[in-house]
Amino acid sequence: MKFSDAIKASRESLNSAGPTYNVVLACGFTPQYLDVFISAYLYQYNPGKSIAITPGPYGNILEAIKLAEQTNSHALVILLEWSNLDPRLGYRSTGGWTRARLDDVIDQVESRLDRLRSALQAIGTQCRVSLSLPTLSLPPCFHTTDWQASATELRLHQLVLDFVISMAEHKNVAVLSPHHIERNSPYSDRHDLEGEFHADIPFNREHVSQLAKAIASCLTPPPPKKGLITDLDDTLWSGLVGETGPENVTWDLDSGTHIHAVYQQLLESIADTGGLLAIASKNQKTNALAALERPDLLISKEMFYPIETGWNPKSEMVAHILETWNIDASDVVFVDDTPMELEEVKRRFPEINCALFPANDVNAAAGLFRDLRSWFGKVDINEEDHIRQKTIQQNAQRRDAVEGVSSIDDFLEESHCKIELNSTKKSTDSRPFELFNKTNQFNLNGRRMNAGEWQHMLEDENCFLNVISYSDRFGSLGRIGLIFGRYRPDVVIDGWVLSCRAFSRRVEYAMLAQVFDRFDTDRITLDYQETPKNLALQAFLQSIGLDLEDHKLVVNRETFMNMCPPLHLELINSD
């Protein structure tokens, strides 16, 4: 981002009428440019929000952490450079570089990191923290040559690493990846020594921009993609299975096609963390399945569902996959080695992310793999991630089962549906937060919250939160819905989402009925907002007699109970 564009965006965010996102910036140097770029990127990723960056007291990271705690900020950004841990590790101080002084430096750094650790643990889960390791090199203060690392130097790195590792284990702390920073801001180009001497601004502007971008991404990461559709020939493997036969497609070092093995491994990893996988391949099904069933394939065929093959346009295959998954095209990535196929799919689904598999350029393929990791990366993995693929297949079985049943009521009765309700507000459980931010079709108003805002809601004594898990004779869907709001003085529902995997079971009726029962109230106000995607929610609201022209919808208990269909659901309270 150009500096002038960052200034304009930062100014625009300050003038925004939207909710304010408060960030405290803790760094031991002049935050010139940094606050502007962080604000600009945060505004880009959170349009409409007013971004307020408050630099902490100059040169004092501990006081800045206290400031974040006292002002109940949504986020805290900490940039650690060596000179913040001990001034003698920077160029502005002249404290001496003798061996005795460096021994003292080690002690001071250890002590300072301990104090930082305590301060950050005290802030707990109050806000989201973005933490950066030192990005500038140490000065030449060690007795070894420039090309040899001294034990003292390595000890310093170890102390910092131990510290950030202990911090990275906290779910609300995001440590900037040094490898990501290195790729985007080469080490040799970062330091502005003249700026450091003149105004204590040690970074070149481009490095500031890259740091700020990574910080903003850590604070408000985009929701992960939900599904990946892959081609087979010259993508999952090298070669054309229909031409050479299933036994002759390759993915190994000897054949020079190992990049496909790495891709298979990455797909397995994506599935392991809850990503859905499917195949869209112009091949005969028998050939494709024969190759997929090879025991040396690094990913099991069972991880792909559905497997679309044949000679139809790929966009038709993708359409069928999206329908089976019941997710939006914007949540999906399509990978193919043929630009024409990518273009054909993109024309029909402009929102889908299309990525070229560069079969003949392993370095470009490595870049693709990093992009895939960023698209599907998650802050936290939970139980639902492990069962997502299985539940899609179970839903297909449910659909098949329902066709043979005389009525939906009979089917639901025979399915032994159970919903488990949990109303404890656990800040360490990331699944409800993730569910709230990625559900579109059954979503009361389409609003999103960042981690800081979610935490504030959990801590509000006047707020309630119900998280719903579902299971039936076909298996468990895990946690699939939540409803939250306020109950004093009146019951108002501010947020309500239900995963599309749980549709057609009347779970939404049970969720609303439970709120009526829990608070023993005769009326509930819904903070409803129409969105382009919440058609499923709109259909439900109309089914209980609500007029969607009203902004604040009021549900009357008696009316709701009269219009509510029979609920063949066992409700279990798991508080």
């Binding site: 500096f3 002038s4 200034i7 304009k8 100014r11 010139q32 440019y33 105004a199 601004i201 502007r205």
Partner: protein
């Protein structure tokens, strides 16, 4: 040749004007041309660093710290840039 230099200098002033408008959005178009550290209260040392950053990015030049002290008005900055681009 003179005409080309004049045209280029006009373009420099237009681009410099845009840089000033980004850093000092409250100044009118005419005020920018007359702007100096003496006449614009918001033009402090931090604003100077921001302005220098925007100018360096716009014109692809590096302005040394020794030079910054002399660049205290729109006109002086414009002349400086013109000399940098047309040595």
């Amino acid at each position: 040749m003179t005409e080309t230099i004049d045209q280029n200098n006009l373009a420099v002033r237009d681009r410099l004007h845009e840089c000033f408008s980004v850093v000092f959005p409250n100044l009118t178009g005419d005020e920018i041309y007359l702007a100096s550290t003496a006449s614009v209260s918001m033009w402090d040392s931090l604003a100077m660093l921001t302005l220098i950053g925007v100018i360096e990015e716009e014109f692809g030049i590096t302005i040394g710290l020794d030079d910054i002290a002399e660049l205290i008005s729109f006109e002086l900055i414009a002349t400086f840039i013109e000399n940098e681009l047309n040595p």
